[in-house]
Structures are given as structure tokens and as C-alpha cells.
Symmetry: C2
Subunit: 389 residues, 2 copies
């Protein structure tokens, strides 16, 4: 029997960061990349070029592979069902993946499962009806504001808009009329902060979670992650992990699942947590695990999709802070290495091999230690050097 | 300016384990491998095929590279001098590397530097003279025993023999007469145990050492490494680290240097340390750093040869034990993953992608924790599973 072969759709940094884990476990990674110089293609030997929407490319990718998995959710579900029927393990399976692809399907299912959701409603495809539904929703919303989302295709703040009148999404109504994905509206949750829970689950049922983290967003994109989330009671942490496990099990997710949560503070009572988004793959909120946990989310994902026993998820330091590098004024990211490594000898710098573009996720820095303020300050300062500041 | 390119001679597990570090730093690794399925070739995209003794292959390897480095010392030194003269950084340089290639040159230089060496003598190329020299050395040796070594080409216990009479190395004398490498004889040090110190040094002079480790050998090959070495006084640790730093500086080593030491116990006094061997590259005694230190020896080697600031070398756990997997009864190493990962969820398993052969280094396991006995027992048991026991 040869070493297992894991086929991955998507050649960005998430697939790239699977490569070290695959090398250590001695498993073979095959990644469908968009271009020969894609982030993952630089570090994965077996990286055929193709796009996720091309059935033939996906079929070629899985030939001889033990399992198909993903670094993003933008994969045609019909083909995945077909591959499953033909005997190729697809993990997470298309029945689970659709919940990460379509926010209306996700909200419906989470509501069925009893997971804590914001108040929400699907908007009709017919524009006049949808405008009335949205106006009614807004009228019942504190402050007259709500969040409208496209059911499909959004990420990193795209496809999400805070609105106070139906006209605020007039362009999206036009998109729906033109046959685009329908919209949903959600309560604008008055959250105190955002948390995230990573869960890994293997087909045979084993589930492991990492400690709950705090995710700090700027302009709708994750800027830093603090692990574990500070000032979290044991009860709240347990509740967050239970919700995440219930979702992983209820949706039959295999591999890593990221559950993004809102924390709402309630005077005189325990905070309330509400499920914001799901991602069925390694996620930005889990990059800290590369250096701050016994088993990284990337290794865990590979173990889970191969149905191998999952790894220990304990932290290796009291605090780990991950700071994203979003855009840079440098021409080449490695130009910053002399400065950042000199100033922060214990910073764990991870660069994704991408060309610099404004706002692009170019890398991240993990810093671990015992003093949270110091750890956070140093992670942010290291990331600032990488941004060329 | 493009990302730095590091050219590496040798496609075994040491080059393989540089790949995750290179991916994280965003630097480009180019490895000269012996075959398309070499250990490193499986995980390094840019891995031309060729042998270290082929000048043309080395010249092609360094074309456009920022630096040339090595995972083994078996590289023609003349060519390296030529490359240096032509302006290619070679790290460690040929003037340093020769000390790891030739044990007579090493002993001579270490003796000059005042590093603690066993009593030793070079044996003449003429067989009759050499026999007399060896007989004289043995006559002056406690127990009438000594260690004869070939000056070049030995590794993992090969080229090293304990002798009590010149006839014990009759075959080696024949080899010398036929033009092979000359021999040296060393005192058979009555050591209590073996220690090792890893040092990293960059061209601009910065030096960092990791904590001193204990290296347990079986049949002349490293079987396990305990980090840090138990029951070491602060004074002894400091002395071992000083010796290693003095050697790195005295020999002008750049990159990682492994200094293997004998510890001799002296009743009523501090133990004595004696330098056994040197390796100018990441070394088996440093595999524990992948999971047990802030910066792994592989990342540190890449940083050092690029003259980048060196990383923090503190441990991330009180104890880390590395257990080698030497040979296996399994057909395929990954077949052991279900069992080993189930029994030891916190074991850090590293498989080298090699075909199984008796005694071959196929992988290793790192286990970290607070209870040394427990950590050691679990590392050994995990390695035993990987050996198919």
C-alpha cells in the first residue's frame, strides 16, 4: 500500500500551509492550483493547474487519490455528489459543504438544530416582495438597521452590507433579478466582540476542539486572533465549544470546521453567543495553532479527512496572538525578514509567497508568551514591519 | 528583488525537513536530489536530479541561487573553493566544511583551538609504520583498547572501530595502501553518556545555541535524544555550550553545527566533556527542536546561511524526547499512522517518505511534557509502533 494521497481544491495559502503537515505525516498532497506560481504551487510538488469550476480538472485531480478536500467552498456541488456516488471520499461531503456555500441553507439548518442564530429571514426573489420583507424586518429592528447578505459567493466582508432601507441594496436586488444568488437579512447583532471555535471531526465520529479564540476584525477582515479568548468564563467557553461540536455533528462535517461567533454582553448575566458564519476548512482564526497548539489545524484537517485519529489540541503557551499581514508597502515580502526577525527573534513569521497587492492576505505572524499585552503588542508590531510600516 | 533562493546539496530527510521552514519563511528551496523519489524530492518543487560529486550538477544548482548549503559533507571541496572565488556564498564555507569531512584535519584544528579532545594520533600511510604507531598507542591505552577511524567517509558508526591489536584493522590498512583515506587512532573514552550541542552562526557573527541534549546511541547510531540533558549542572551546560561556540567561531562555521560530546564522570569533581564528532548541518540530535523549541534547527539553518537574524532557541516544554525510527517491519510507514496517532494523540510523528530497509532512518517521533520518564516512555513506545513492533 502506497502513502495516502490527499487531493485539495484551491492553491492559496490554506493549501500551502497544509504542505508542511503533509510532509511530516509522510502523506502525498495533490493541489489543484490556479497558476504555476500560486501560493501552494510553490511548495507542493504535485500541483496540477486548473479551476475549481472545471469538472474535468476535478476528475483528474481525484484520480488515484484517497480523498478529496478543499481550501475554499467554491466547488460545484453536483460534481461532488457524483464523485461520492462513484466511491471517492469527499470530505467535507457535499451535503455538509452546501451549508458553507449557501447562507440561507445554513441558517435554516442551524435554526433546526437549535443553534443560537440572529433573527433572520430569507428575502424573496421577486424584488417588490423582497423590498417589503426587508422593510418589515427593518421596522422591527432596534435602530432600524439590519445586515443583508448574498446567500452565496461572499467572503472576507464581501457580500455583507449593513442597511437601513431597501434602497441600500438596490444593486443587489438587480443582481437577484438577473438570476444571481438570493439574499437574506439578519439582525445586526449588538456584539461586544467576535469569537471563533475550531472543531475537527473525522468520519468515524471523533471530534476535537481547540480553545475558543477572540477574533478581531478590521473592515470586515480578520486582523488578529487571540488564543485563548481573554476573559472568557469556563461556562461560556464550554457553551461555545458545545455549539460548535453540535454543528459539526448535526451537519456531518468532516475535516476542520470554523464556527465564527458573536458574543453579546448582558448586564448581570452570562454573555450570549450567536453563530455568525461557518467555514468548512482550515480558517484564518486557526493560524495560531501552527505555533500555539500541539496539533495545528492544517495537520488536523489532513488527519480528519483521512479518517486518522485526531491530535491533541492543547495550547503550548499561555497566550498566542496571530496578526495578519493585509497588504504591504514592500515590493517583496521577504525584504522585511532582516528587520522583523532582528526585532522579534521569537516571532513565528509565515509568508505566503504572494505578489503584494493592497489589502491582500500576504502572511501572518504568531507570537506566544505569558503576558498577553506584551504578546499582542509584539505580534502587531511584527506584522506592521511586514506591512512595510 | 525576488525571494531568496537557497541551493541545498543532498535530497535526504535533512533537506526534506528544511522544506516546511522554507515554506513558512517564504524563501525558495532548490535541492539536488539523487532520484525523483528521494525523500526531499517528494516535498520540494525545485529538486533537480544529480549527484554531489558531479561538478556540472552543482554548478547548475547554484545558478541564480543566493547561497549554497548542504545536508551532508560529501561534497568536493575544490569545486566549493572555486564557487566561493567566483562570488557564490557557500555556507558553511569549504575551509570550515573540510573539518567535518576529514577527522584528522578536525582533530588537529580542535587541538590548536584548545577544545577538549581525546588523546589521538594520526597513523602513517605506510602500513608497517602505521602498525607500529597503533601498537604503541594501544600499549599506552588503559585496557589495551583504542578507537581507530577512517579520516574520511564515515558516518553513523561506519568507519569507526574499537581495536585491541593492529590486525583488527588489517582490512583498513589495505584500503589505505590502495589509496584510501588515512586512519587516526583515538583514546577509547570511558564516557558515562553522550551529549550534543547545536549551535547556529551567521556570517555577520551572531551565534545561538540550543540547550545541551543527551544523545542515546545504539549500535553506533542515535536512538533517542533527551532535551535538555537530564542531571546537567548549569556549569557543565555552560561549559558545553562555550566549547561549541568556540568551535563554531574558531572554524568559522556558518549555518548549524552539531558538536557531539562525551561526558566523563570524575568522582568528587565536575564531569569532563570531550569533543567526539562535528557535523556542519542540521543533525539528528536536533530533530527535537522541530516541536520542542521556538525555532527549529532547520529554520535556523536557513536563516543562518541567508545571514538573517537568528531565532529564539528556548524550549517550549520542560522535556522533549526524540525517538528515531530505525528500520521497520511494515511495508509502508504510513500504515502505522492509525495505531500510533490513536495511542499517542500528542506525539509529533515525522515520516521521511523512504522505502523501508533494515536499520534505515525512516522517521522520528517527538513527545513533549513535564514528566521525563513518561515523555521518554511514550516517545519510545510510539517509535516502536512505527517500527511495526
Amino acid at each position: 500500500m502506497a502513502a495516502p494521497v490527499i487531493a485539495v481544491v484551491g492553491g492559496g495559502q490554506l493549501a500551502r500551509m497544509m504542505a508542511p503537515a503533509a510532509a511530516e505525516l509522510g502523506v502525498h498532497l495533490r493541489v489543484l492550483v490556479e497558476a504555476a506560481d500560486s501560493s501552494a504551487a510553490q511548495v507542493v510538488v504535485d500541483s496540477p493547474i486548473g479551476v475549481a469550476s472545471d469538472d474535468a480538472a476535478i476528475r483528474a485531480l481525484v484520480a488515484g487519490a484517497d480523498v478529496l478536500t478543499f481550501e475554499h467552498e467554491h466547488v460545484p456541488n453536483d460534481l461532488l455528489h457524483e464523485l461520492v456516488a462513484a466511491g471517492t471520499p469527499v470530505r467535507p461531503g457535499p451535503h455538509a459543504l452546501v451549508q458553507a456555500q449557501d447562507k440561507i441553507i445554513m441558517r435554516r439548518r442551524l435554526t433546526e438544530l437549535g443553534a443560537p442564530c440572529p433573527r433572520w429571514a430569507e428575502l424573496s426573489r421577486d424584488e417588490a416582495t423582497a423590498r417589503t420583507e426587508l422593510a418589515d424586518f427593518l421596522a422591527a429592528s432596534p435602530g432600524g438597521e439590519a445586515v443583508v447578505k448574498t446567500s452565496r459567493g461572499g467572503y472576507d466582508g464581501k457580500g455583507v452590507r449593513v442597511v437601513s432601507a431597501p434602497d441600500d441594496v438596490a444593486d443587489w436586488f438587480a443582481g437577484v433579478s438577473a438570476g444571481g444568488p438570493t439574499l437574506l437579512v439578519e439582525e445586526k447583532v449588538p456584539f461586544a466582540r467576535e469569537l471563533a471555535v475550531l472543531v475537527a471531526r473525522r468520519p468515524s465520529g471523533e471530534v476535537r476542539t481547540w480553545p475558543v479564540v477572540e477574533s478581531v476584525q478590521r473592515d470586515g477582515v480578520c486582523s488578529e486572533v487571540v488564543a485563548p479568548a481573554p476573559d472568557l468564563t469556563a461556562a461560556e467557553a464550554e457553551r461555545a465549544r458545545s455549539v460548535a461540536v453540535a454543528i459539526a455533528e448535526g451537519l456531518d462535517v468532516t475535516g476542520v470546521l470554523a464556527v465564527e461567533l458573536f458574543e453579546v454582553r448582558v448586564p448581570g448575566a452570562e454573555p450570549v453567543i450567536i453563530v455568525n458564519e461557518l467555514a468548512m476548512r482550515p480558517h484564518n482564526s486557526g493560524h495560531w495553532t501552527i505555533d500555539g497548539s500541539v496539533t495545528s489545524q492544517f495537520e488536523q484537517h489532513l488527519r480528519a479527512v483521512l479518517d486518522l485519529p485526531l491530535g491533541e489540541t492543547a495550547t503550548t503557551a499561555p497566550w498566542t496572538v496571530m496578526a495578519n499581514v493585509l497588504g504591504s508597502s514592500l515590493a517583496q515580502m521577504t525584504d522585511a525578514l532582516p528587520a522583523v526577525l532582528a526585532q522579534f527573534p521569537d516571532a513565528r513569521v509565515n509568508l505566503y509567497g504572494k505578489d503584494v497587492r493592497p489589502g491582500r492576505k500576504l502572511g501572518h505572524v504568531n507570537v506566544s508568551g505569558t503576558d498577553l499585552d506584551d504578546v499582542r503588542r509584539r505580534a502587531m508590531a511584527a506584522a506592521a514591519i511586514l506591512r512595510g510600516e
